[in-house]
């Protein structure tokens, strides 16, 4: 039998005070990010805001001054500020140009941007690789859909938790831990200045599912141990349970992590931010079952038991 983790006895519950401080700060950042997104100040992708994306490849490196030239040419053409990024790979360079919220029906702005590119550097043969022109109505529609997707996912998760646990303490604890992860992850995405695209929203929901799974596995073990070891007290039972399944947590987390890492480092630009969000989220999902979900059970018991004592 090969075991990395054997008979551990880490005092997870004892560390909860530090976790409260950390989680408190992260949640505040997450809430701030949430408000920013709601008020339209967040870094929303063009698929939500409407706008234009142009991706063109070419063979020589462009200096920051060159890119500045392109940027001012785009502004002069009346398309406002643009976000320009140069990435390289396989001996070719790729220019990513993003314009937000242009008052025009979609379809032609990306062509105009390509035209501007060609005029600014006539000697470079730019090759059109991808374009996207999103009209404001389509963006608004997608925003609407994303909000509903998050809403229904959370409702479905809450319903599942209720069916699964039936008791308020476990249910609330699992729900809080899941929400904690979604908000904190949103906060991290915000701090990293990742563009919030539909894929990022997808990553948030995927992590909500993963985090809940992790919490459910921990809770199952806690309930199982409570049946036989109630007398040792909840504090000890939680610590015992988390330690008992530590190797499962680490192994499943590990396999998922290596798979996501492979996507992150080898999967290319399309899925990079998505994979990065998942990667961070996987840590969060495990963290929250140890340091958010389980401690809530403890605090809950404290509150109810003091209430009982007062009642007597």
């Amino acid at each position: 039998m090969f075991e990395i983790i054997k008979g551990t006895n880490i005092n997870f519950s004892g560390m909860r005070k530090y976790a409260y401080i950390l989680s408190g700060i992260l949640i505040l950042i997450g809430l701030f990010a949430f408000v920013q997104v709601l008020t339209g100040k967040g870094n929303l992708g063009i698929e939500f805001t409407g706008g234009t994306m142009v991706q063109a490849s070419y063979e020589r490196h462009l200096s920051p001054e060159d890119i500045g030239k392109i940027r001012s040419a785009i502004t002069q053409a009346g398309f406002g500020t643009s976000e320009i990024q140069q990435v390289s790979g396989g001996g070719r360079y790729m220019l990513l140009i993003r314009l937000k919220r242009i008052e025009a029906t979609g379809g032609t702005i990306s062509d105009r941007v390509l035209e501007i590119l060609g005029k600014t550097f006539p000697e470079i043969p730019f090759r059109k690789e991808a374009t996207q022109d999103v009209g404001p109505t389509v963006g608004a529609d997608l925003q609407h859909k994303a909000v509903w997707a998050i809403f229904w996912a959370l409702i479905a998760i809450a319903m599942y938790i209720w069916i699964r646990f039936r008791t308020l303490d476990f249910g609330i604890a699992a729900l809080v831990a899941t929400m904690h992860d979604v908000f904190v992850l949103l906060g991290i995405v915000f701090v990293l200045r990742l563009e919030i695209t539909l894929l990022i929203v997808t990553a948030l929901l995927t992590i909500a599912g993963y985090s809940l799974t992790d919490t459910v596995v921990v809770f199952d073990r806690i309930r199982e141990n409570l049946r036989t070891k109630r007398r040792e007290g909840l504090f000890k039972v939680i610590n015992l349970s988390v330690n008992e399944i530590l190797s499962r947590t680490i192994l499943t987390g590990g396999t998922t992590l290596v798979a996501v890492a492979s996507l992150l480092f080898l999967g290319g630009d399309v899925t990079r931010n998505f994979a990065l969000t998942l990667f961070i989220g996987l840590f969060l999902g495990t963290y929250s079952s140890w340091f958010v979900a389980s401690p809530i059970l403890l605090e809950w018991e404290k509150v109810t038991s003091t209430r009982e004592r007062k009642g007597r």
Binding site: F2, A130, A156, G209, T255, V258, A259, L266, G268
Partner: protein
């Protein structure tokens, strides 16, 4: 027990055979040379493949999303202002039903048009209450796609105003412009030809030079100018490539606003070669339906020696002088310097019928084939490396038992891709991400079981009982851990569009299939031996 196991093995073998069989066309398709995969008739012929064979193979093969094979996706919306005009109501009075009816009609027409252009595997479907989503895989010429799809295809015949009326209106516009420029002195107003310096009238047609086109367009939108044009007249541009025009210049026409005839439905439209001026120039011949032909006959009889403009989607194609009554409803459109491809396209558009209203392209997305191929390559590499890492990790930690879990994982992937091919789902880049995530998450079942088996063995149970107890006791947790992922997948599938759906499908299916592979297949392998003295776990 032994007996049950045999049946299970047979069942697994049958499922595997079906999976391989349903994957075979995809395998055949993906091993074709990339140039052939695009479905271009020329390259098919060059490599010696029959087109029919290719089309049927393409239908059976796993469908690749636009992000992986390149192509165009457009979302079209019915223009409500134009629909209201067609129906003769105010825009605010439009009902949702009117819009969705127009949408459905437009969808049929667009499908007809696209079908005739021979784009392979186009996907045209309604999206939401008023949109149409058009996917043209492998097509990258967006200009042509927009022409085919976005053109309303409404042909109208409008009378050109006679020269006296034109001169009168132009003089009015000069005065309106002077007023707008703040000139008040009446002599200066009369001598300031602010409009006619840009738009020059020679008694036959108004010509606007290239550098003045933007200025004239701006002037024509000015409210003072608009007020100076009588409500029953309108200015429309010509194509700009007419004969004896300075290159870059465009003719401007003053027309009667009300069309004499509207050719929303033509009996026939086809490309022809040869016009009055050039025997090699392409043209489009058309035949009006009976009702319109009768109207046309009356109009032509009543307006001999006047110019009658053929207007297509608000652009004047030509404005020939009526020499005599045209009784049979036949006519032709000259395309000037247009190519025969353009003539063909126009004929198809005219024949498919006019759209019930203008169509706006509200979203367009283009991915080049090289970028798609690049994504496939990166997806492939990261999936293989991800798989190897997961397989290695499981084998390292659980030894032979881990290898059994790895076998189950490979079955999982096989079934997943086969199921997608059989269901004609589309594989996208996020879909590949879903597969990669599935690989990491679906071994969780085996991890949970193996950890249980270890625990049971630690408390001194025999290997056999430990295995059985491990499977039984881990089951509840396994189901739990899968349900949560399935919930997110279902929600994402419901609300997600395009690529997100691809992710939801692969993740959801992958996790669901893993319930079978990680539980049943591994158990079957463990059960091939009745007694264990030791277990490599």
């Amino acid at each position: 027990m032994r007996n049950l196991n045999t049946w299970l093995i047979v069942f697994i073998l049958i499922v595997t055979a079906i999976a391989i069989w349903s994957l075979f066309p995809s395998f055949q398709f993906l091993t074709l040379p990339p140039a052939v995969r695009g479905g271009n008739a020329d390259s098919l012929a060059r490599y010696g493949y029959k087109e029919e064979w290719f089309r049927s193979l393409q239908k059976k093969a796993l469908h690749l999303g636009l992000d992986l094979q390149g192509g165009i996706r457009l979302v079209l919306a019915v223009d409500e202002a134009s629909l209201a005009k067609t129906l003769g109501v105010k825009q605010s009075e439009l009902k949702t039903k009117d819009i969705s009816e127009a949408r459905d009609k437009a969808l049929t027409i667009i499908r007809n048009r696209v079908d005739q252009f021979g784009v392979s595997e186009p996907l045209i479907s309604p999206e939401g209450p008023s949109w149409i989503s058009v996917q043209l895989p492998g097509m990258v010429n967006v200009e042509r796609a927009r022409e085919i799809i976005g053109k309303t295809g409404l042909m109208e015949w409008k009378l050109v105003q006679e020269s006296k009326a034109v001169q009168d209106i132009l003089a009015r516009l000069d005065r309106a412009q002077a007023k707008a420029a703040g000139i008040t002195d009446s002599v200066s107003v009369e001598s300031s030809h602010l409009f006619t310096t840009h738009a020059v009238y020679d008694g036959r047609q108004i010509t606007v030079m290239r550098e003045s086109i933007d200025t004239v367009n701006l002037m024509l939108r000015d409210s003072l100018v608009l007020a100076a044009i009588p409500p029953d007249m309108e200015f429309l541009w010509g194509r700009g490539d007419e004969r004896d025009m300075t290159p870059g210049a465009k003719p401007l026409f003053l027309l009667k606003r009300e069309p004499e005839v509207t050719g929303a439905s033509l009996v026939e439209a086809r490309m022809g070669i040869g016009t009055e001026n050039n025997p090699a120039e392409p043209r489009v011949d058309f035949v009006l339906n009976h009702k319109d032909a009768a109207k046309f006959s009356v109009v032509t009889a009543a307006n001999i020696n006047r110019q009658l403009a053929i207007v297509l989607d608000s652009i004047v194609q030509s404005a020939p002088v009526i020499r005599s009554r045209i009784p049979n409803g036949r006519g032709q459109i000259e395309l000037g310097s247009g190519t025969s491809d353009e003539a063909k396209d126009l004929a198809v558009i005219l024949k498919a019928g006019a759209l019930p209203a203008k169509i706006a392209i509200v979203h367009s997305e283009i991915v080049s084939q090289t970028l798609g191929a690049d994504s496939i390559q990166k997806g492939k590499v990261s999936a293989i490396i991800g798989l190897l890492l997961v397989v290695a990790l499981m084998g390292f930690y659980y030894r032979i038992s881990g290898a059994i879990a790895d076998i189950a994982l490979i079955f999982n992937l096989l079934f997943l891709v086969a199921f997608m091919a059989a269901m004609h789902s589309t594989l996208t880049m996020p879909g590949i991400a879903g597969i990669i995530l599935t690989m990491g998450m679906s071994v969780d079942s085996n991890v949970l079981i193996f950890e249980r088996i270890r625990e049971e063995m630690r408390v001194g149970k025999t290997v056999r009982t430990a295995i059985d107890a491990g499977y039984n006791r881990a089951l509840a947790t396994i189901i739990d851990s899968h349900v949560t992922t399935l919930i997110t997948s279902v929600v994402l599938f419901w609300f997600g569009s395009g690529p997100i759906r691809g992710f939801a499908v692969t993740l959801g299916l992958g996790v669901a299939i893993s319930l079978f592979t990680a539980l049943v297949i591994t158990k079957v392998i463990f059960d091939t031996r009745k007694q264990y003295r030791t277990l490599s776990i």
